[in-house]
């Protein structure tokens, strides 16, 4: 993301978090966040003004997105509150097809007059751009849904929880880490609410209310004598949930091999902060890894990022076609490989499903940002590449008639485009726990939680680090390792997948801010999996002295 796109808010020291802000994002009072502004019927009246305007100017298709995007950030370190910020961005984005060409315009003037002017601008832009157009845009048909609504299932709206409660929680987590000997702890709570009203010239009027939450911290431990330091992040996942994620229920706590506690559908931040301090100390004292080939046992809090980079991105059709060539890159999963219907992306155990519906996931919505009802579909089946991720103006290219429903825009002011759906590894069919999996490994490394990541522009060669590494010898965990990173080629790696644990071990971590496009836009996406085993992967030692 560009440094220029950030303003550093006053009152925060250097090295503190920079918050994304554009000229349309306003800092507001938290009480305003509970004020609904307009109801669906008022938004419909405004949307119809835009739809009628574009139609009268010759547009053959129009969609109107009236969006209100709310964010709350609570930021602390040790015993101090560093910042509390509530932001609101409210406006309309209008996209049209005129002369067979897309046009888009946006405005923060959400009035009858504003709708009309913005609609006129969108049509004018489409007509001007049509000079560059080689062939007209073709949209896959989608049903007209009439007036419908969707809301993230939640039992506690995070925006209704007093800010003081969040501050108290973060400071209590910090205190726990400090009590356990941490030198420093930085903690944050991020809440997102997207209130999106979509209307199209095809007769859909879709009102959606979407929530996401992301608690996080970094606990730092320093060995003063040697100068070594280690950071241990929170074992929380960003979720498409309300504040009930912070309940830390006993049934959501999972004891992993190696004596590590992790969390599923709710998170105990205070408890985890204590564990973080203890583990950071062990991370410093751990044995430096001997480089070589190991069987890797990868826990879901780690494996999600490997899935994101090596499966999620290369199956995006716009990358395959070259639309991202100048920035994020292209893809090794070219159309000819898909057309053979036998390109072995992975071993028989490897089944990937893309979806926008999984409850609690970051990608879950009722309808995407071009009014397509969300669904799930196979990407990799029994190891074979069977499909891509595509939207209405793309699916025709791969001979399909129905959009996959994965179109997204980060705000009303940005044009929507294809974004990654949740892409998840399906759990194994045989009963298998992580402990049983480890018992079968002779020489291996068990990795918990993601860290450093890097992959080439066509998604062949990758390198991943992690947070906790345990040495496996003859089926037993022998203690902690450090300085571990593994390198592989995506296709070879997924073909080395020997086992996947069963559904009892399935969890859905994810990324809150995945970047794509120029100018860049962010997207939130989850990647579910159970613990999986990969045989004979190249492990390097990353220790260096300067």
């Amino acid at each position: 993301m560009k440094r220029r796109d950030f303003i550093q808010l006053a009152g925060m020291g250097a090295g503190a978090m920079m918050l994304p802000m554009d000229g349309f994002t306003q800092i507001v009072d938290p009480s305003r966040m509970l004020d609904p502004l307009l109801d669906a019927s008022q938004k419909k009246v405004l949307a119809d003004v835009a739809l009628n305007t574009t139609k009268s100017l010759g547009a053959t298709y129009t969609d109107v997105r009236i969006g209100r995007y709310l964010n709350q950030f609570v930021i602390t370190r040790e015993k101090k509150v560093q910042n509390i910020v509530n932001t609101e961005s409210y406006g309309v984005g209008i996209r049209v097809i005129a002369n067979g060409t897309w046009g888009f315009a946006a405005s923060n003037n959400v009035t009858t007059e504003g709708m009309k002017k913005t609609a006129e601008r969108a049509v004018a832009i489409a007509k001007a751009n049509s000079k560059f157009q080689k062939e007209p845009v073709k949209l896959a048909a989608t049903p007209s849904y009439g007036e419908v609504s969707w809301k993230t299932p939640q039992t506690k709206n995070g925006f209704e929880v007093p800010v003081k409660e969040k501050v108290d929680l973060l400071l209590a987590a910090n205190a726990k880490a400090l009590e356990k000997g941490a030198n420093f702890v930085n903690s944050q709570m991020f809440l997102v609410n997207e209130q999106k009203y979509f209307a199209s010239s095809e007769g859909s009027y879709i009102d959606q209310d979407i929530y996401r939450i992301f608690p996080n911290f970094a606990v730092t431990m320093i060995d003063r004598a040697s100068g070594q330091f280690k950071n241990r992040p929170a074992f929380a996942a960003p979720m498409g949930m309300g504040y009930e994620y912070m309940d830390g229920k006993a049934e959501d706590k999972i004891l992993l091999p190696g004596g590590v506690t992790t969390y599923n559908k709710s998170y105990d931040m205070i408890e985890d902060a204590g564990f973080a301090a203890e583990q950071a100390k062990q991370m410093i004292a751990a044995k430096s890894v001997e480089p070589g080939k190991y069987d890797l046992v990868l826990e879901p809090s780690h494996l999600w990022l490997t899935i994101h980079e090596s499966v999620g991105h290369p199956t995006e059709l716009d990358r395959v076609l070259g639309y991202e060539a100048n920035y994020a890159g292209t893809s090794f999963l070219t159309l000819d490989k898909w057309q053979t219907k036998k390109f072995n992306f992975g071993s028989k155990q490897v089944n990937f499903v893309a979806d926008k519906t999984q409850v609690g996931s970051l990608g879950a919505v009722g309808y995407d940002d071009e009014g397509v009802k969300c669904k799930s579909w196979d990407l990799i089946k029994d190891g074979i590449l069977v499909n891509y991720q595509a939207i209405r103006d793309q699916v025709g290219i791969i001979g399909q008639s129905e959009s996959h429903g994965c179109c997204y825009s980060q705000s009303w002011a940005d044009v929507q485009f294809q974004r990654m759906a949740n892409v998840s590894l399906q759990p194994g069919k045989e009963q298998l726990t992580p402990a049983q999996m480890i018992a079968g490994v002779e020489k291996g490394v068990y990795i918990v939680k993601d860290s450093s990541f890097s992959i080439d522009q066509q998604r062949y060669n990758f390198q991943f680090g992690g947070v906790l590494f345990f040495e496996i010898k003859n089926g037993k965990i022998e203690g902690m390792l450090k300085d571990v990173a593994y390198q592989a080629n995506s296709q070879e790696f997924w073909n080395s997948c020997a086992q996947v644990c069963d559904a009892r071990d399935y969890r859905v971590p994810g990324a809150f801010n995945d970047g794509k496009g120029q100018p860049g836009q962010i997207n939130a996406v989850s990647h579910g999996s159970a613990t999986a085993r990969f045989n004979g992967v190249n492990v390097i030692n990353t220790a260096r002295t300067i």
Partner: protein, 444 residues
């Protein structure tokens, strides 16, 4: 046009401060006009334009701070935003790290605004893109590019009498060209304050040349090689040093600049003595703002001198706590170079690898600043002073600190853009021995 003159900005901000009832009040005002064109597969895919202005008011009561923003500038809105910031301050917990706003400061006159860039029209953007597309199509190559420009102003004023104003313009251009068979790929990037210096056709021709010459690359064994890093490749490694110069992190013991027992490496020779890195907001080739958004002046500063870490960056809070002046982080860095071109560096190389671009750079270990990433868009094997053949891309694992200890030669400085952070720098090409490539990549 949303660029307010100095006098207009001053008058508006005085009006805002007149509404204040807080112990201290500070106002930041920014406005800009921006435009961009994106293309791929030899055709324009999206284009956009955005004009915006935003006013941020920070009110403080003791150590309680509240910030509110607005983009309507009528009197009622201005009063409303001041009241809201005051209400938020009253609700906020005390921030022990709050530092009282600065008094009046002296700033050098900035040189960041070029009228020609501020006057860019949609037609000029379209012409620049058309010139790039034409040479790509003529070469039967496939182009994807992004052209953006921005002109704007920023101003700040506070209740202690501080006032600062600046205008700035810039344009950035990047282009990836692939051969039709997908076997070759080339890249070029350019950044300027003055659009007159931007030649999209020439940049695209370089990308085409790299695409054509990099096709049918051979695989060679990973290992330690002498490399020549073009400035665009050097930028994405060196900026990881620039971004990690924070004094607080170093003092706290969690930086590559930390030493055991709470000491830092400031004053220590950490790299080859030919390494000199500084910042200068008035450099005519890379001008930047002469003040920061907390009101501190930006002055010419030496960061690394003859390989010795001379200065670290400070927040105002940390500077106050440590009882030092506390230099802010600059907007751009400059590294001194030599006189040789990349071609001349190649000529003097017996065996080595020319790296034109590096990509997907991530920190592997913040303690040693070990980075990983890959070569991309044109990597070539050099033997006896000549480029022999294109080679397949490599992944590297290397620390820029170790790299700058293995310095062989510095080339001629040029302005370049980091593909990772979009920041512009003045950097030389670097010839480095024993650069660590750890595996091969099939990516083109």
């Amino acid at each position: 046009m949303l660029i307010l003159t100095k006098e207009e900005a001053q008058a508006l901000m005085k009006k805002v401060l007149a509404f204040s009832k807080a112990d201290e009040c500070e106002v930041n005002l920014t406005g800009s006009n921006a435009g961009n064109v994106r293309y791929a597969r030899n055709s324009v895919s999206t284009s956009g334009g955005i004009s915006q202005m935003s006013l941020a008011v920070a009110s403080a009561f003791g150590k309680k701070l509240g910030i509110a923003t607005i983009n309507e500038l009528d009197d009622a809105s201005l009063e409303k935003v001041v009241r809201r910031s005051e209400e938020l301050a009253q609700l906020a917990p005390e921030n022990p790290e709050f530092v009282s706003f600065l008094g009046p400061q002296k700033y050098a006159e900035p040189v960041t605004f070029i009228p020609a860039t501020a006057a860019i029209t949609p037609k000029l953007r379209a012409d620049n893109v058309a010139a790039s597309l034409k040479v790509a199509r003529d070469a039967k190559a496939i182009a994807a590019g992004f052209l953006e420009d921005n002109s704007g102003f920023s101003a700040m004023m506070n209740s202690h009498g501080l006032f600062a104003y600046n205008t700035t313009t810039y344009t950035n251009f990047s282009i990836t060209v692939r051969t039709e068979d997908g076997k070759g790929s080339g890249y070029a990037t350019r950044g300027f304050n003055d659009v007159a210096k931007l030649d999209t056709k020439a940049a695209t021709e370089i990308a085409i040349e790299k695409a054509v010459k990099s096709a049918t690359a051979k695989a060679i064994e990973p290992g330690k090689y002498t490399v020549i890093l073009e400035p665009a490749a050097a930028a994405v490694l060196l900026e990881n040093i620039f971004f990690a110069l924070d004094a607080r992190q170093a003092d706290e013991g969690r930086s590559f600049l930390s030493l055991p027992g709470g000491k830092t490496r400031q004053g220590e020779k950490l790299m080859d003595e030919r390494v000199n890195i500084y910042s200068d907001p008035l450099n005519p080739e890379l001008p930047t703002s002469t003040w920061t958004n907390d009101g501190r002046p930006q002055e010419k500063t030496t960061w690394i001198e003859k390989g010795v870490v001379k200065n670290l960056t400070f927040s105002r809070y940390w500077a106050e706590k440590k009882g030092v002046k506390g230099i802010p982080s600059p907007d751009a860095f400059i590294m001194e170079g030599g006189t040789k071109s990349v071609a001349e560096l190649i000529k003097g190389t017996k065996k080595g690898i020319l790296v034109t671009r590096l990509w997907y750079i991530r920190t592997v270990d913040p303690q040693s600043l070990l980075l990983t990433g890959l070569t991309r868009d044109g990597t070539f094997y050099i033997e006896n002073g000549e480029i022999k053949y294109p080679i397949k891309n490599f992944r590297f694992n290397e620390s820029p600190i170790i790299m700058l200890n293995n310095l062989e030669e510095l080339g001629k400085v040029e302005r370049t853009v980091s593909v990772e952070s979009n920041t512009n720098y003045l950097l030389p090409p670097l010839k480095i021995r024993d650069f660590t490539f750890s595996s091969l990549s099939d990516a083109v």
